[in-house]
């Protein structure tokens, strides 16, 4: 029994380590390569994986090759069946980029994605743009989110709550224990798109909220 717990713990550590590194192996999504074992097949496999990992990219408006948006991939052959690629996914809110290794096994591409950056593209506000960027990045690694995006989700929750509370409960007295300002937020992923967040206000009161990442990348606080 104890041995089983050790194995489970070890497996969890390995999974988390992989998640923090931002890398993951994709094996099952690979389709038979219509372009054979080729650079084009590698490009298209990476594009499929990035799209699948970032549901926002499934929006048809990001698909056309002529579009400024979408997934861009460049691959170079390393050996007969291996390609090293770089990719960039551009949507309305964010620019995600990273690297990918493609290995052809029985003419099927196996893609290993690694996201290396996430930056703001355009957005209506400074805070929300950052959050949306993070959210899009988050979806690229559903199974093992990196730590940085969580902090940005937390930032989004803090900003959103404060904006709402400032409107509904305007401060009346200087130096009072503010119930409208957030001291701390701690979020934990509860499902693929949802986060459960504990919020502590300046006056010591606490509240639990749920943050949900919508397919368009926006974080909705409920």
């Amino acid at each position: 029994m104890a041995t089983g717990r050790v194995w489970a713990a070890s497996a969890l550590v390995v999974l988390l380590a992989a998640g923090c590194g931002g890398a993951r192996q994709v094996a099952d999504r690979a389709e038979p390569a219509a372009w054979g074992v080729s650079r084009v097949a590698a490009v298209q496999a990476v594009s499929r994986e990035v799209t699948a990992a970032n549901p926002i990219m499934e929006n048809p408006k990001y698909a056309p090759a002529e579009s400024e948006y979408g997934v861009e991939v460049g691959c170079r052959r390393r050996s007969a069946r291996r390609y090293l690629c770089s990719w960039r996914a551009v949507n309305t809110y964010s620019v995600l980029s990273g690297r990918a290794g493609v290995r052809f096994v029985h003419a099927r591409p196996r893609v290993e994605l690694r996201q290396t950056s996430c930056r703001r593209h355009v957005g209506p506000g400074e805070d929300s743009a950052l959050v949306r960027c993070a959210a899009s990045g988050f979806e690229s690694a559903r199974s093992a989110p990196a730590s940085t995006p969580v902090s940005r989700i937390e930032q989004s929750v803090k900003s959103s709550l404060e904006r709402n509370l400032m409107t509904s409960q305007p401060r009346t007295e200087k130096g009072s224990a503010w119930s409208t300002h957030v001291r701390r937020v701690r979020c934990v992923m509860s499902s693929g798109h949802e986060f459960r967040c504990d919020v502590t206000f300046m006056n010591g009161s606490r509240r639990q909220v749920t943050a949900r990442v919508r397919p368009d990348g926006v974080v909705a606080v409920g």
Partner: protein, 478 residues
């Protein structure tokens, strides 16, 4: 046509190859079949007079295919290349000039200046200018101002051919003195033209190669000429050529919007060159031969992939479409090509070429014509062939002459300068005019055509205007 693919026209391979024997100037061989399979196009316009431009062939028929205007090229083509065998004295060269001019003029008297008659284009290579008329050439060969500015040194409009990134290392860069392109709907006219120049004037020329072929023939219904010819020659993959195709590779390539209008390819029209007074009305001609691997083209690419690599990724055309619109207004920019490449890994042959082959802005030509942005510049005169790689060669080993027929194309294009051709050809390999280089591996499937083409020979020529077509610059020798 009722014959099956297995029994093409009742010909056995032995009979077929036998027909191809006896190559040389008068070789008809397998190309006799062109008259059997290809209906001679009906030409409405009888051209009145020979233009100053040798490369302009008047009276070409325009048909509408899938709502798109398509130029019907002459049915029979032949290119004969040669070395000049005249001694280098001024008197000898002047005599040769007079003899050749008389032969050419006689051909013009016999044939009208249209595909119904005979189109003759005499082009001269740099070896001729260097060996026979070096002095006048230094003073009169046009300078390519655009290339000179780009490269920071003086660049001539006529340059030695080069190997491009997708060319095999063993592509031969020819060194012929002269090349004569003969075009007609009537094979007899082409043969007569070759005889009149190279047999009757055999004391002036040493023929180095004869390159024959055919074009068009796919617009009158049925299987179409390329498919019939490829089937008859038992070319692997021939049965997969679509019925009605204009060329072996399937797609129509002579639509009007993709061909340069009449005088745009002249040396002087677009202002690319200076010092061009002597050669005004002339142009630059690139001649190359490529093998086409039909089995790979039709076996490794499905229709959508062929469309994507031949035109552009993401284009939406009905299955089986052979004529795809390439309107002037749809001309592609380098940015778009890069975007398409990065999204799909594929470069569209036609779209990539358009970054260099179409005008980037409106140009008022030296002839007074306004050429709008997006107008195509190259005037192609390429034709399919079953030569391997030539119908006849004076150096069979050097030229890699193979046994039996092989699908290919003798690529002939007229453009204002050699550098202009280089730009277009490099764009085809992902080297765009703005300097962007897209990565492709050798025989990259994302390059479509390039992965199934294998270039065997290349050379650039200068096509003088008609008044100077015979031994140009010789009269200026001292």
């Amino acid at each position: 046509m009722s014959q099956s693919a297995d029994e093409p026209s009742g010909l056995t391979r032995r009979r077929f190859l036998g027909a191809a024997a006896g190559a040389g100037l008068s070789a008809a061989g397998l190309y006799e079949l062109v008259d059997r399979f290809g209906a001679v196009p009906r030409r409405n316009l009888a051209a009145a007079a020979w233009p100053r431009e040798q490369h302009v062939l008047l009276g070409q028929q325009v048909v509408t295919d899938e709502g798109i205007e398509v130029i019907v090229p002459p049915l029979h083509h032949r290119v004969v290349t040669a070395k000049v065998r005249v001694e280098g004295s001024r008197s000898s060269l002047l005599a040769a000039k007079a003899e050749l001019e008389e032969a050419l003029a006689a051909l013009e008297r016999q044939h009208e200046p249209s595909p119904r008659g005979l189109g003759v284009t005499v082009a001269w290579g740099l070896p001729y200018f260097r060996r026979y008329v070096a002095g006048p050439a230094r003073a009169h060969l046009p300078i390519d101002d655009r290339a000179s500015k780009a490269k920071g040194r003086r660049v001539l409009a006529l340059l030695d051919a080069i190997r491009y990134p997708s060319d095999p290392a063993h592509t031969i860069l020819d060194e012929n003195d002269v090349a004569v392109l003969l075009r007609s709907d009537e094979r007899e006219h082409v043969v007569a033209g070759a005889h009149a120049i190279f047999r009757r004037l055999a004391h002036l020329f040493e023929v180095t190669s004869v390159r024959s072929g055919f074009a068009g023939g796919g617009f009158s219904g049925g299987r179409g000429l390329p498919k019939e010819m490829a089937l008859a020659a038992r070319i692997p993959g021939a049965e997969r050529i679509p019925d009605g195709a204009e060329l072996f590779l399937g797609f129509t390539s002579t639509q009007r919007a993709a061909m340069g209008p009449s005088r745009i390819a002249n040396l002087e029209t677009l202002g690319y060159t200076s010092r061009n007074a002597y050669f005004r009305g002339g142009t630059q001609m690139h001649l190359s031969h490529m093998h086409e691997d039909l089995e790979a083209w039709y076996g490794r690419y499905d229709h959508d992939q062929r469309v994507a690599t031949a035109f552009r990724p993401g284009i939406d055309v009905a299955p089986g479409t052979l004529t795809v619109s390439e309107r002037r207004k749809d001309a592609y920019s380098a940015d778009l090509i890069v975007s398409q490449y990065r999204h799909t890994g594929v470069i569209g042959h036609s779209a990539a070429i358009q970054t260099a082959s179409r005008l980037a802005h409106d140009v008022r030509g030296a002839d007074g014509t306004l050429y709008p942005r997006g107008t195509a510049v190259p005037q192609r005169a390429d034709f399919n062939t079953l030569d391997n790689p030539f119908a006849w060669s004076s150096q069979p080993h050097h030229d890699g002459m193979g046994d039996g027929p092989a699908a290919g194309v003798h690529f002939v294009t007229f453009q204002p300068t050699s550098d202009d051709f280089d730009r277009v050809r490099l764009a085809m390999d992902g080297v765009l005019p703005d300097g962007t280089r897209l990565y492709f591996e050798p025989r990259d499937r994302g390059q479509g055509f390039n992965s199934v083409l294998r270039t065997t020979h290349r050379q650039n020529f200068l096509v003088p205007p008609r008044p100077h077509r015979s031994f140009p610059l010789v009269e200026l020798l001292r």
